[in-house]
Point group: C2
Chain length 421, copies 2
C-alpha cells in the first residue's frame, strides 16, 4: 500500500476553505470584468529560458527539469513573466493597451510557512502597452474596490516609486556599486526601523554622511501630501499625480507612501506597492508595480507594463481572521427517501429545486434517519426533506429544520417559499 501523503509545502484545499477561495476569486474577477479586463491563461510549463533570468536571487526557487524530449522546462514562478512573453508574441493581434487577469497556481520551492505554500494561487491583473499614469491610477482604484467588495474596511496600499528613490540616490551621488544596497536595506525598514536600516547601509560600505542624509530624507511622518512636500526637490511626479487622482476619486485615504516598500523582484522600475490591512498582522497580502523593461527580453518593441497580484492564500487567512468569511452561508437541503421506492421522487425533487437555485442533494445511502441527520450536519445542510408514503400520495414534502428541529408538511410552493426565505 502506498502512503497517502502530500509533498511538504503542498496542500489540499477543501470544505469551507475551498468555498471561501472560490468566493474570493469570483468576487474579484467579476469586478475586474466590469473594468474591461479579460481572462488569459498561460501554461504552467514553459521553456526554462523564458521563465528564468528575470527575478534575481529567488530564481533558485523555480522548479525546473528535463522533459520527455530533453527540453529544459520550468514551472511558472509567477504569472508576470509568462505574460510578458505572451504580449511580446501577440501584441499585434491583441492590440495595445492590453488588460487582462489571470487566475492560477504558481510554484516556488520556498520554505513553507503560514500563508506561504510551494504551490499557491495568484490572481493577477495587468495593463501592458501604456506608460501613462492613468494605468497606475486605474489599478490602484480597482484594487481598493476589490478589497472593499470582499468586506475589508482598513485597506492600505503602501506605495513607493523606485524612480523617486533613484533620484535621491543620484542627488546624494551614491556610487553605482552601492545603489542596490540602498534598496536592500530600505526593504528591511518595516521590520527593523529606518535607523537600523541606515546602520545596515553603513555596514555595506555607504558613508555615515550619506546615510545620515538618507535618514533625514526618509524620516518623515505625515500625510501623503506632507511627505511629498518634504521631498519636493526630488522626482515626485508619479506619486504626486497618483495622490491627486486618488483624492478626486475618493481613495486617497487608502494610500500610504512608504519608502520601506521595495518589492524584491528585479523587474520593477517605477511604482511599487503592497497591500496590508491595519487590523491584522500577517504582512502584505499582495503586491505589484510598474515594469518597463520586462518585455524587452522577448521583443524589440517597447512595451511597458504595470500589474498587481492578489495572493489568494494570504487573503483567505485575512478574511478568516477578520471573520469576513460569513457571506458564504446559504441554505442547503438533504432529501431523504424513506423507502427505496421513492428514490425517483427524491431525484425529481432534487432536479426541481436546482431550477429554483436551491442547493440540495439526495441521500445516497439507505440508512436510519438518525444517520442521515448526522450526514446532513457534516455537509452543513440546515434542512432535511422527507419523502414517504403519505408525502407521495398527497404530493407534499415534510421539511425539517435541523437547527430548530421544527417540522412541517408543505406542498411544493410552500416548500420553495420556506427555503428561499
Amino acid at each position: 500500500m502506498i502512503k497517502a501523503q502530500l509533498l511538504k509545502g503542498f496542500q489540499d484545499v477543501y470544505g469551507n476553505d475551498a468555498e471561501l477561495k472560490e468566493l474570493i476569486c469570483n468576487q474579484i474577477i467579476s469586478e475586474l470584468k466590469l473594468f474591461g479586463y479579460s481572462p488569459l491563461e498561460t501554461p504552467v510549463l514553459e521553456y526554462a529560458e523564458v521563465l528564468m533570468g528575470n527575478i534575481g536571487e529567488d530564481e533558485k526557487l523555480i522548479y525546473n527539469f528535463k522533459d520527455h524530449g530533453e527540453r529544459h522546462v520550468a514551472m511558472k514562478y509567477d504569472h508576470t513573466v509568462s505574460l510578458a512573453r505572451f504580449v511580446a508574441n501577440n501584441h499585434m493581434e491583441i492590440g495595445l493597451p492590453f488588460k487582462r487577469y489571470q487566475l492560477g497556481p504558481s510554484f516556488r520551492a520556498d520554505k513553507p510557512q503560514r500563508g506561504r505554500t510551494r504551490q499557491f494561487t495568484q490572481l493577477d491583473l495587468d495593463i501592458l502597452g501604456t506608460d501613462e499614469i492613468l494605468a497606475e491610477v486605474e489599478i490602484l482604484n480597482l484594487i481598493v474596490k476589490c478589497y472593499k467588495k470582499l468586506g475589508f474596511k482598513n485597506i492600505k496600499i503602501q506605495i513607493n516609486d523606485r524612480k523617486l528613490v533613484d533620484s535621491i540616490i543620484e542627488n546624494l551621488k551614491i556610487s553605482e556599486s552601492n545603489q542596490k544596497d540602498v534598496f536592500i536595506c530600505l526593504d528591511k525598514t518595516d521590520k527593523i526601523g529606518l535607523k537600523a536600516a541606515c546602520e545596515l547601509m553603513v555596514e555595506r560600505g555607504i558613508s555615515k554622511e550619506i546615510t545620515d542624509k538618507l535618514f533625514e530624507i526618509f524620516n518623515i511622518q505625515g500625510s501623503n501630501k506632507e511627505v511629498l512636500n518634504h521631498l519636493k526637490e526630488f522626482n515626485t511626479t508619479t506619486l504626486s499625480s497618483i495622490i491627486d487622482y486618488a483624492d478626486k476619486l475618493g481613495f486617497e485615504e487608502n494610500l500610504n507612501i512608504n519608502f520601506g516598500v521595495v518589492r524584491g523582484l528585479d523587474y520593477y522600475t517605477g511604482l511599487v506597492f503592497e497591500v496590508v490591512d491595519e487590523q491584522i498582522k500577517i504582512g502584505s497580502f499582495g503586491g505589484g508595480g510598474r515594469y518597463e523593461n520586462l518585455c524587452e527580453r522577448f521583443t524589440h518593441e517597447k512595451i511597458s507594463g504595470i500589474g498587481y497580484s492578489f495572493g489568494i492564500e494570504r487573503l483567505m487567512i485575512a478574511m478568516q481572521d477578520l471573520k469576513l468569511d460569513s457571506q458564504m452561508q446559504e441554505n442547503k437541503v438533504l432529501i431523504v427517501a424513506l423507502d427505496p421506492n421513492y428514490r425517483s421522487n427524491a431525484f425529481a425533487l432534487n432536479n426541481k429545486l436546482s431550477k429554483e437555485k436551491i442547493i440540495s442533494e439526495i441521500a445516497l445511502k439507505d440508512s436510519k434517519l438518525a444517520k442521515q441527520i448526522k450526514y446532513a450536519e457534516k455537509k452543513s445542510c440546515n434542512y432535511l426533506i422527507l419523502i414517504g408514503e403519505d408525502e407521495v400520495k398527497n404530493q407534499t414534502f415534510t421539511l425539517k429544520n435541523l437547527e430548530s428541529q421544527e417540522q412541517e408538511t408543505l406542498d411544493f410552493d410552500g416548500l420553495i417559499k420556506n427555503l428561499k426565505d
Copy 2:
C-alpha cells in the same frame, strides 16, 4: 533576446476562447453546486509513487522529475488519482459519501492534436463512499443537465458496464490471458466496426468459435431496453437499473448502450461512459466510470467511487462548431476623455458604471478619436462614451453606438437605460 516561444503542445488561451472557457466552467460549476457538490483542490505536484502505477500503459505520459530535495515528484495526469489519495487520507473528517468537483489543469506528454494539448483543463465531479446505483444515476442525470444548460441538444452518453462484459467473458469461458484482449479489441469497435474488432481478437489468439459468439451477442441494434432484453442471460443489473431510473427522470433518450466504450484507464471496474454529440465528429468530449478499488492503494478502508470528467478544450471546440458560443455577448463601453482635464470624470463614470454591472473601460492612451474607435473595435466594445467640455458643464454624456454610428447626448439615467437595453 530570448525567443518568446511556447513548448510544443502547450498554448495560451485568450480572447474569445478564454471567455468561452470561463463561461463553460462557471455554468457547469453553478449547476454542480446546486446538487450539493463542493470544491476540492489537490496539488499539481505529488509524490510520483502516488500518481504512478494506476493508469496502465499511459503512465509513460506522466511528467516526473527530481525536486530540490531529491524527491521523485510527478505532475498530475488526471484529478482522479489525487482524489483517491485525498479521500483515503481524510474520509473520517470529510464524511462519506463525499461529493466534490475539481477544476484545474492536467498534464500528459502525449502527441498533440486538435483538442488534445499537453496541458489541458479537466472539470471533474465524483462521488466516493457509496456503491449504490443512485450515484450512477445522479452523475448521469447531472451530466445531461450540464450539457443542456450549455445549449447542446443532441447529447448522447454512451454507456457500458465492464461487469456485464465480464459476465459474458466468464460465460464463454475465455481464458484469463485473453480477457484483456477482448476489451482492447472492443475499444476499437467505434472506429473499425464490430466485425473487424472480432477479427482482431482472433489475431490475438481467441478462437473463431468464441469470437463468433461474441459477434452474435454484441451485434444488436435497437433501443436500450431491446439491447438489455437480448442480453438478459448475462449480468445486466446495473444497466437495467440505470435505464429504469433514466426513464422515470426523463433522460433515457440521452443514454445509449454501447459495448465499444471501454475507457482505457485501468482503474474502472463497473459502469463506463463517454459523452458525444451526434451532430459533430470530434469524438467524445468527456468520460467517466465506476472505480471500486482505486482507494485501496492508499487505505484498507473499502471506498468505491464514480466520476466524470468534462474535457474543457474539446467542449470549447464543440460549442464553437455548433455556434453555441454566442451567449457571451454583452455590451462593452470605452470611455474617452476628450481632454486630459476630464480624465477624473472618465474614471468616476467608469466606477459608476461598474456599480450598474455595465462593462466599461477608460481610454488609457491619449490619441485621436479615430484611433480610440479602432481600439474599441479591437476590444469588441460596441459603445463609446465621450466626455468633453460641454458634457462636463452640463453633466451629460455623449453615447456613440459603434454599430449604427448613431450618437446622442444623455444624462446619467438615460445613459444607463440605453446601455442596459
